[in-house]
Symmetry: C2
Subunit: 452 residues, 2 copies
Amino acid sequence: MTQTSKNIAIIGSGLVGSLLAIYLRKLGHTITVFDRRPDIRTIEFSGRSINLAMSNRGWKSLRKVGLEERIKEIAIPLDKRAMHVNEKPVYFQKYGKEGEAIWSISRGILNKKMIDFAEEAGAKFRFNEKVWDVSLPDAKIFTGESEKSEWKEYQFDIIFGCDGAFSRVRHKMQRRSRFDYSQDFLDVGYKELTIPANPDGTHKLNKNSFHIWPRGRFMLIAMPNIDGSFTCTLFLPFEGEVSFEKITNKAEATGFFKTYFPNVRKEIENLTSDFFKNPTSAMVTMKCYPWTYWNKVALVGDSAHAIVPFYGQGMNAGFEDIFMLNQLMETHGDDWDTIFKLYQEQRKPNADAIAELSYRNFVEMSSKTADPKFLLQKKIEKRFAQRHPDKWIPVYSRVTFSERPYAEALAIGDRQEEIMQQIMQMPNIEEQWDSEAVEKKLLGLLNNIEGH
Amino acid sequence: MTQTSKNIAIIGSGLVGSLLAIYLRKLGHTITVFDRRPDIRTIEFSGRSINLAMSNRGWKSLRKVGLEERIKEIAIPLDKRAMHVNEKPVYFQKYGKEGEAIWSISRGILNKKMIDFAEEAGAKFRFNEKVWDVSLPDAKIFTGESEKSEWKEYQFDIIFGCDGAFSRVRHKMQRRSRFDYSQDFLDVGYKELTIPANPDGTHKLNKNSFHIWPRGRFMLIAMPNIDGSFTCTLFLPFEGEVSFEKITNKAEATGFFKTYFPNVRKEIENLTSDFFKNPTSAMVTMKCYPWTYWNKVALVGDSAHAIVPFYGQGMNAGFEDIFMLNQLMETHGDDWDTIFKLYQEQRKPNADAIAELSYRNFVEMSSKTADPKFLLQKKIEKRFAQRHPDKWIPVYSRVTFSERPYAEALAIGDRQEEIMQQIMQMPNIEEQWDSEAVEKKLLGLLNNIEGH
C-alpha cells in the first residue's frame, strides 16, 4: 500500500533519526531533521561512546534501503571473544557458526555517513536548532536560542522523537497522566580509553576479536577501529573498594592498570593519560509507555527504550524499530492510527526483553566469563548445540544472529537456563560433561518442556 | 541536641508541608511555605480526593507536636469494614483488637486546620507563588507568573520539597545523572461520589464502618464525614467491558449502579449526577532515589514516594517521614549531611514496602474480600491470632496499628502468606479449619521459619 506524502519532522540526527529519514524519504514524505547540536560532519567528534557492534537486526534494516555494503566498508567483523584472564594465555570463544560475526564500527564515522545518505535521499537537516516544546495534539514544535527566548513555531503532520535517552519529545509526553516511565542507573560507570595502532598501522591485538578482560565487579573491553587503533571501555563501579572515586591521580591509575591488567602494561602510559582526559559516564535503562500520541507523535530508538550496552543491541534495536514501522506503513498505508498503535504494541515487549537481556549480560561478561563452572556449562551447551543444532540455539545467537523477536529469545533463554541448572547438578558433571548420559538427560528435559 | 536556626523554604502547603513547618518551627527555624495554589482556607474546596484514613503513624506524628486531640475533633473512628456483597446481608469485619480503629477525615478540612496550626506556630505562607526553578547546590528558588516571565529569586539555607507526586523540586533533581525514577499508573481510575446525610443530619449507612462493595475488577468504597454525608469512591478500569469509557450517559450510569450496587439504589440519582460532574482521576506509584541533595534539599512525603491509596497509608507515611526526620535532627543537631543521609537510607526501604503493600491491597479489597477461600484463610488466621496473639500479628495490624517499620510488616506478611498457602492445601480444610490439627501444623510451620 502506498502512503500520501506527509510533512514530517524528525527530532534528533543520530543513527536512528538519520536512518528513519532515509526510510521515510523512500516512501515519498517531506522530511526535516532537527538537532540541537552542530553538524557532526563539521566538528572533531568527541569519541565519547562505546564502539558499536552491528549485528543481524542492524544489517537487515540497512539492507532494506540498500546501505548494507556501503556501511560494511567502515566496519570490522569480529567472530569471537578474546578472553584475557590473568595468569592464563589469551583464549578465544567463537560467537556463532562459521561466517557469523558482529561488526565493530565507530559511532562517529557511522553517524556522519548516515547523515550523508539521508541528505542524498532528500532529507533536510536543521542543525543547531533546539526544540524546547512540542504541542502533541497538533504536531507543532517550538525552537529557539534558550528556554526564555523568542521561539520559532513549526507545523508538521507527524513528529518522530529520535532524540535519545533524555528525549525532549518524551519529556513532553511524560507530563500527561497515565504515562508509565522509569529510569534506572547502574552503580557502574564507564570511561573510554584508546590503544593506538602500531607504527605501521596494524592492530596491536587480534583484529577480528572482541577483547574482554573480566575482573568480577569490573572489566575492560576493546573493539578494533579501521585505523588500527582499539577503542577500549573500562567499566568500573563509581564507588567502593575498586572504583572510579578511588583513582584520583596518575600513580593510582598506573597502579590500577598494572595490578588488574598486566597484559596491557605496554599501553599503560596511554591508558593513564586517557583516564584523566576522558569523562566518566553513567549508564541507564529507560522504559516508558505509551510510545505514541494519536497519529501525531511517535518515539523511536533510545527515546522509547534506552538500554545498557552489554549486549551491543542498542543501535540494532533502534534500527529494528524502523524496519518494523516500515512494514506497518507498507501494510496500513495512510492509517497512521493503526500504524502507531501496532508499532507500540508489537515492539514494547521486545524492547523490554532486550533491556533485561542487556542488564543480565553485564554480570555474565564481567564475572561469569572467568568462572570455571560457567565455562563448563557453556561447553556442555556448545557440544549439545553442535550435535543437535535444531534443538538448541544459544540465546546469544538468537539475539545477535537471528531476526526472531527479542522477547522469544529471552523466554527460550530462560527455559534453557532452567534445564542447564538441572544438568549442572548431575553428579561428577566435571568428569562426565561430554558423556551420553548428559546428552540423554538434556534431550529428556527438552522434551518435557516441549510437552508442557 | 539543639540546632542552629536556619532559614528554610518548604515547597507545598499540603498536609506534609504544613506538618513539617510546625515541627521545624518548634526547633526554632525560620519557615517560609510556598504554594502555587491559593490559600485553601479562602476557597471552596474541590473535594477531589479520597477521604483520608488516619492511623497509628499519623497520630504518633501529630501527638509529638501536641495536635492529636485537636485533629480527633474532626475525625470519625472506623473499627471495622462493612462488606456489601450482592445477595447477602451486609457483614462486618473488625479491623483489629478492641479499641483499634482507623479515622476517617476529610482532606480539605484537615489541610485547612494544619495551615492554621502552622501559622500559629509562626510559619509564613506565600500562596499563589509558583516555583519554576530550584538551584540545588545553593538552595535558591525562583518564582514567577509563568515559565517565561521575570522570576523572583530567593536564597535559603535548606529547601524541603513537599510538593506532591508531580513535584517540581524532584523534577529538578531528576535531571541529574544517576537519579533513579519510576512512575507507574494503574489501569484503574477513580471518581468521587457523595451519599448525602439524612434530613436530620445522621448518616445513611453505619457511621463507624469503612464500607466496601467489592466487585472483582472494580469496587465502590464509602467513608463517613462529620456532616453526616459519605464520601464514596468508585474504582473502575479506564477501558474494557465494565469501565469508565463504557459509561457515557445518564442511562448507562443508572444501569451500572442498578446492576452492580443494588443496595444503594436510593442514592442512584445523586451518584449518577456526581458521575458526570466529577472528574475521573488516575492513580500512580512513584519511586525515586536519592531523596536529598547534599545538606541543601530533601524530598518529604509524596514527592519522594507516591503510592496508590488502597492501604490508606499515603498521608501516614508522609507524616512518619517527618517524625523520623525530627528524631534525626534531635540526635545529629547541625550535622545536616548526616541527617539527610540517614533520612533517605533508613526511610527508602520502608517507602518501597508500603508502595508494594498498597498496590497488592487493591487486589485484596476488590476481589479477594468476596472470595470464600480467601475469607476462610482469614478466618483461620484470625482464630490462630486470637489463640496465639504473641505469634501471629496480621500484616494489616502491623501496618495500621503499630509503629514498626513498613519493611518489616511486608517481610513478615510474606512469610505468613507462605505458611497459609500450605495450610490451605491441607485436605478438607473447609471442614477442619478450626481443628487442633490445623493449629498444630501452623505452630510447626512457624517454628520451622523461626529456626531458619
